[in-house]
């Protein structure tokens, strides 16, 4: 039986064919059974979930409706949840309990979503394979020796394996889209500022954005509508109205223009992935859209630019972890400076330490202009490339990742090899644009993702393009063998 979607479950809840309590218990049972195999969760919260499910059932009994009322969901463990541990997959925050809810959590709670637990991820969202988690790697349901991608790898594996219909994620350089591609599901990173970052543990503040991992574009539209919108508690959150994303899904694509960047189809793209993406573009032509070659000449600068900007911001953001106010505290420090140094060395994993050290270096006296300023200039070149391209096309399409899911352990020895896995996604974060990945075929039995990129605040357009594709094709319905 195909795993249900939010839209499908909402119809069943509406018709009283099932209760939220039953759906939630089913999700909890599946999670418990999967955990020794997939390790998709860091924390599971059966008692709170069943209480929330009963509350949702009571709201429906009183006549309330809503597409998310009573739907089970997992939050990436980067979102603060009051009274439930929030670890960011780090020893640094093992045992930390947030005193408040993230805005994303608060809004989804208000819509009646039932949180079943906190999904595993790369430590502090720094990673592309979920192998940097203090709580162990997540396995890809399509092949247990393979990575589900990262950093939202637990969220992706949980949805791909049908444990929950949807999960939240965050995307700083590809952390929603790449795992969605590698696990054969739909993943949406909205425009920078579309969703509040309040209560979302900060990695790189000019790049971080919250989004969703779902089975369908329709479900992504329903969730984004509930999450997005102005929040005075995040000073970079956009103060503009949230459209009805679901209402725009049905628009026909006849005459719409798709830009295909030639730089996305270079030698670095695995041939089977290239074939699947080309076939998806041909499907869009059958749907009435036209393809146009565009160029992003500075795309090659994006990964090195990112690995200056993101570590610089991370080194500043993570200076708050001092062993004093919260988080891991080394027991044997003799002085305050030693307390800082030993607590940070003991609490942060190797990749997080590497990024803090890289960021500290590029911001240090004498190097700022050569690195950080230079990277900010390159960032503008990259953003300008997209602006030019969107002068003549409605969306840009290409691969999400250079290859299907790689083997766990395959890229851990060379950080730069791991970083290059995000070559097609990182530029989108640097430019602050919305990006979406949908399954578009297979290579060697593993899912391939098609990436759609839109102008700022055109999430609705991306969801429309994705939904029309999913109405015409069945890749998003394919599921790994149980």
């Amino acid at each position: 039986m195909a795993s249900p979607t939010i839209a499908g479950l909402a119809r069943q809840l509406e018709a009283r064919e099932v209760s939220s309590h039953e759906l939630t218990q089913r999700a909890l049972d599946r999670i418990a059974a999967s955990q020794p195999v997939l390790n998709a969760f860091i924390t599971v919260t059966p008692e709170q979930a069943l209480a929330a499910a009963d509350a949702a059932d009571a709201r429906r009994a009183r006549g309330e409706t809503g597409p998310l009322l009573g739907i089970p969901l997992a939050h990436k463990d980067i979102f603060c949840t009051a009274g439930v541990p929030t670890t960011c997959a780090s020893k640094m925050l093992a045992g930390f309990v947030s005193p408040y809810d993230a805005t994303v959590v608060e809004r989804l709670n208000a819509a009646g979503v039932v949180t079943v637990g906190k999904a595993n991820m790369d430590e502090f969202a720094m990673g592309s394979s979920n192998e940097t988690s203090f709580f162990g790697p997540v396995k890809n349901p399509w092949g247990l020796a393979r990575s589900p991608g990262g950093s939202s790898g637990g969220s992706a594996a949980a949805v791909a394996a049908g444990l929950v219909p949807a999960a939240t994620g965050t995307d700083t350089g590809g952390s929603i889209r790449q795992p969605a591609a590698l696990t054969g599901i739909t993943g949406l990173k909205p425009t920078y500022g579309r969703v509040s970052r309040y209560g979302m543990i900060a990695f790189a503040s000019s790049l971080d954005q919250a989004g969703v991992l779902t089975r369908t574009a329709e479900d992504a539209a329903l969730l984004l509508g509930a999450m997005a919108g102005f929040d005075p508690r995040d000073s970079t959150c956009a103060d503009r109205p949230v459209p009805d994303y679901a209402a725009g899904l049905g628009a026909p694509l006849r005459g719409r223009r798709i830009g295909v960047p030639k730089e996305f189809f270079d030698d670095g793209l695995e041939p089977g992935s290239a074939a699947a993406v080309r076939a998806a573009l041909a499907e869009y032509e059958r749907l009435g859209a036209t393809l146009h070659e565009v160029s992003l000449p500075n795309l090659g600068l994006s990964v090195p630019t990112y690995y200056i900007v993101a570590p610089a911001e991370a080194s500043s953001n993570l200076s708050r972890f001092d062993g004093v106010r919260f988080g891991y505290r080394h027991p044997g420090a003799g002085s305050l400076e030693e307390l800082y140094k030993l607590s940070r060395a003991g609490g942060f994993g190797a990749e997080v330490q590497r990024r803090i050290l890289t960021g500290t270096y590029v911001l240090s006296a004498g190097y700022y202009d050569a690195y950080y300023l230079k990277a900010q200039q390159c960032r503008r070149l990259i953003a300008d490339d997209f602006r030019r391209a969107f002068g003549s096309v409605d969306v840009i399409a290409g691969p999400t990742a250079p290859a299907p899911a790689f083997r766990l352990g395959e890229k851990v020895d060379d950080p730069v090899q791991m970083y290059l896995n995000d070559i097609y996604t990182i530029a989108v974060n640097l430019a602050g644009l919305p990006g979406l990945s949908i399954p578009c075929g297979f290579s060697g039995g593993l899912p391939v993702g098609l990436q759609l990129i839109g102008p700022h605040f055109e999430e609705g357009r991306l969801l429309n393009f994705a939904h029309q594709y999913q109405q015409a094709t069945g890749w998003h319905l394919r599921e790994p063998a149980a």
């Binding site: 005193p99 500022g193 970079t236 106010r325 420090a333 500290t360 230079k374 730069v416």
Partner: protein
Amino acid sequence: MSLTEKDVRHIAHLARIALPDAELPAVAAKLARIVGFVDQLQAADTTGVAPMAHPLDERQRLRADVVTEADQRALLQQNAAAVDQGLYLVPRVIE
């Protein structure tokens, strides 16, 4: 720009991360690999390009300078390893 072990020791001090001598060569080698990789930006022509600090080129919004938080000290200090009478405890700083 090449990165020496002495540089790495200094960076680790600035970042307040203890770095044992035994781990220094391995950490320095990986950092040098990363710095070598990002150094390719030096070849990009950015003459006259304005640095981009915000992806939408927007300015930080300001709010009125008024207190918006209630006192939650006891709640917030539940996550601290050592507190006493509302104060955070750290190793002695002044002898």
